[in-house]
């Protein structure tokens, strides 16, 4: 048992009458990839701004690597690096100059600055463009440079605020690879995202932020188990088969069925999908129905997200 790398308790922040955070609790382990998932306005960036010492909370506490973000901000700044939403790199400097500047600001030994910059340019596949001005870089290159800049000082905690917003799929998966590599080397990563897929594919733990509170927290699998179980989907070759199957469903104990007349399919919730499939296929054979396909449908994070936000809004 060790102290969490990021420990947040009862965090509150309001702007005027608008309460952005209404008691957020988070706990991030060392070396973990932790995703803050939520729609725009859920409080993701405000949480990030508090953790990176940019904004003071109105209530609650936040500690990064044991240092309080309000009372010990200087120590927090020695631990973290922030890659914000906007690829904040200087267009008027070259990639190398941007990196060297950040190495200087990180107070690296003078000799180490240039070596470190060169190594990062190599690692992020920017060596060829190193001495071109960043103004001429593509969006993906700017993001990679942005991330490289955050790594100049070898931060213990890396905070990524919507790191892949606006990136094409190739650049996005490249960036995911880099983040996984960093976590594998022991860097703690806190990222915010509004993409469920990103949280699902990248994060060890996900906290769903909704309306200034953590609506749910766990691994992707744990969150998915929050919404009612699996479904079985059976597709038929002709409308007549579908109609007959629909009539048979209650006899098979399939209560909540949904039919799709366009792709001639029937979907039903099932606690034991394998058994349901056997029974459905046996019934189909017995009645001479033409089945074209069978599949098990598992809930996605989208379902979780919609269920959670719907529940919260209804309160």
């Amino acid at each position: 048992m060790t102290e969490p790398m990021i420990a947040v308790q009862g965090l509150e922040k309001s702007y005027g009458d608008h309460a952005v955070l209404r008691g957020v609790d988070l706990s991030v382990r060392r070396g973990e990839i932790f995703a803050l998932l939520g729609p725009n306005g859920a409080g993701k960036t405000t949480t990030v701004n508090i953790l990176t010492t940019l904004v003071r909370p109105d209530g609650g506490t936040a500690r990064v690597a044991g240092a309080d973000v309000v009372h010990d901000a200087a120590r927090v700044r020695e631990t973290i690096a922030l890659t914000g939403q906007y690829a904040s790199v200087d267009g008027f400097q070259t990639g190398r100059e941007n990196l060297v500047m950040m190495g200087e600001l990180a107070h690296l030994p003078r000799r180490a600055v240039r070596t470190r910059a060169a190594a990062l340019l190599e690692r992020f596949d920017l060596a060829d463009a190193a001495d071109r001005r960043v103004g001429s870089y593509s969006g993906g290159m700017r993001r990679r440079l942005d991330l490289a800049i955050s790594l100049v000082a070898d931060p213990t905690v890396l905070v990524l605020d919507e790191p892949t917003t606006g990136l094409d799929p190739v650049s996005r998966s490249q960036l995911w690879e880099v983040v996984r590599g960093l976590a594998a080397d022991g860097t703690t990563v806190l990222l915010t995202t509004q993409y469920l897929e990103e949280a699902d594919r990248l994060a060890d733990t996900i906290a769903v932020l909704h309306d200034g509170r953590v609506a749910a927290r766990g691994t992707a699998a744990e969150l998915k188990s929050l919404v009612a179980g699996d479904h079985v989907r059976v597709a038929f070759e002709d409308p007549a088969s579908l109609a007959t199957a629909r009539g048979l469903a209650p006899q098979l104990g399939l209560a909540t069925t949904e039919t799709d007349d366009k792709d001639l399919s029937l979907t039903a919730a099932s606690a034991d999908p394998v058994r349901t499939i056997r029974e459905v296929l046996a019934a189909a054979d017995a009645h001479g129905l033409a089945v074209s396909g069978v599949s098990v449908v598992r809930p996605t994070l989208d379902d979780v997200f919609l269920a959670l936000t719907r529940k919260e809004s209804a309160r």
Partner: protein
């Protein structure tokens, strides 16, 4: 599930050695400011706009007043009268470019990133200020050189020239801090208009024509606004006959604006985040 345990099991991943950072000191603060000055200087030297504002525009203003308006306004002696006005105007709009740079850095999130670094607090702002002083002294040299080529004949002695340099540094410090503070609250577009402050307000002073030639309702403003004593101080120093009262009034104005702008700028820098 939303309960947060105070301790959690560590992940089965290799431990890492966290880097040891040097403690912040006056040496690291000096390094921070130097780094920021290099950054600002690059921004200026690499933009056509920046170069035009720093060197081409001052020369054009000088030529317009001396060559085009000069004959109509005051004949041969007018150049000696107008150089201090042109000089202050150029130092002003040269400093105003800092507002645009700061506004850009606010909008792009660059200032947020700087604020998350373990660096000397307002070094990003001091980078703008120091770079501005260097750049404006360089354009002042160009302005004076062009003026001399056009027939400007100052009577300043060595001491007066040192006074001109010192006073120019104070003026640029004040103008730049004022621009920096405005850049922290204005949008990039609005920040581009800060130079109008320095392009137009000096016209309503004794910089280009004597105040008593203006309509009487303007006298009050023109005589008492800060640009008048500032320009008169330069005029006094350049003619080799500085007036103590005028110089003290000018210094009081500049130091007053400097203290307020510097304090407001530093406070805003700490308070504001990207928008």
């Amino acid at each position: 599930m939303s309960a947060t345990p105070t301790t959690v099991p560590a992940l089965a991943r290799p431990p890492r050695r966290d880097p040891v950072r040097p403690r912040q000191s006056s040496a690291t603060a000096a390094r921070d400011v130097r780094t920021m000055v290099v950054r600002e200087t690059r921004r200026q030297l690499r933009s056509i706009d920046g170069l035009i504002t720093a060197f081409f525009l001052p020369v054009m203003v000088m030529l317009v007043f001396v060559v085009i308006f000069g004959g109509a306004i005051g004949g041969d002696g007018y150049i000696d009268y107008v150089v201090p006005g042109v000089l202050v105007m150029c130092l002003g709009f040269g400093s105003a470019t800092a507002a645009v740079g700061v506004a850009q850095d606010m909008t792009s999130g660059t200032i947020d990133r700087f604020k998350t670094l373990p660096i000397f607090g307002t070094s990003a702002l001091w980078g703008h200020v120091v770079a501005s002083v260097v750049r404006n002294l360089a354009s002042a040299v160009v302005v004076v050189a062009v003026a001399l080529a056009l027939g400007f004949r100052p009577d300043a002695g060595l001491g007066d020239w040192l006074g001109v340099v010192a006073f120019a540094v104070l003026a640029v410090l004040t103008f730049t801090w004022l621009s920096v503070a405005l850049g922290l609250v204005l949008s990039v577009e609005a920040a581009q208009s800060v130079n109008f402050l320095f392009l137009f307000v000096p016209y309503l002073s004794s910089g280009f024509v004597p105040v008593d030639t203006m309509p009487s309702w303007l006298h009050g403003f023109a005589e008492n606004q800060p640009f008048t004593p500032v320009i008169e101080t330069f005029r006094g120093l350049l003619s080799g006959a500085p007036e103590t009262t005028t110089a003290l009034t000018a210094v009081a104005w500049l130091v007053g604006f400097l203290v307020v702008s510097c304090a407001a700028g530093s406070l805003l820098y700490r308070r504001r985040t990207a928008r």
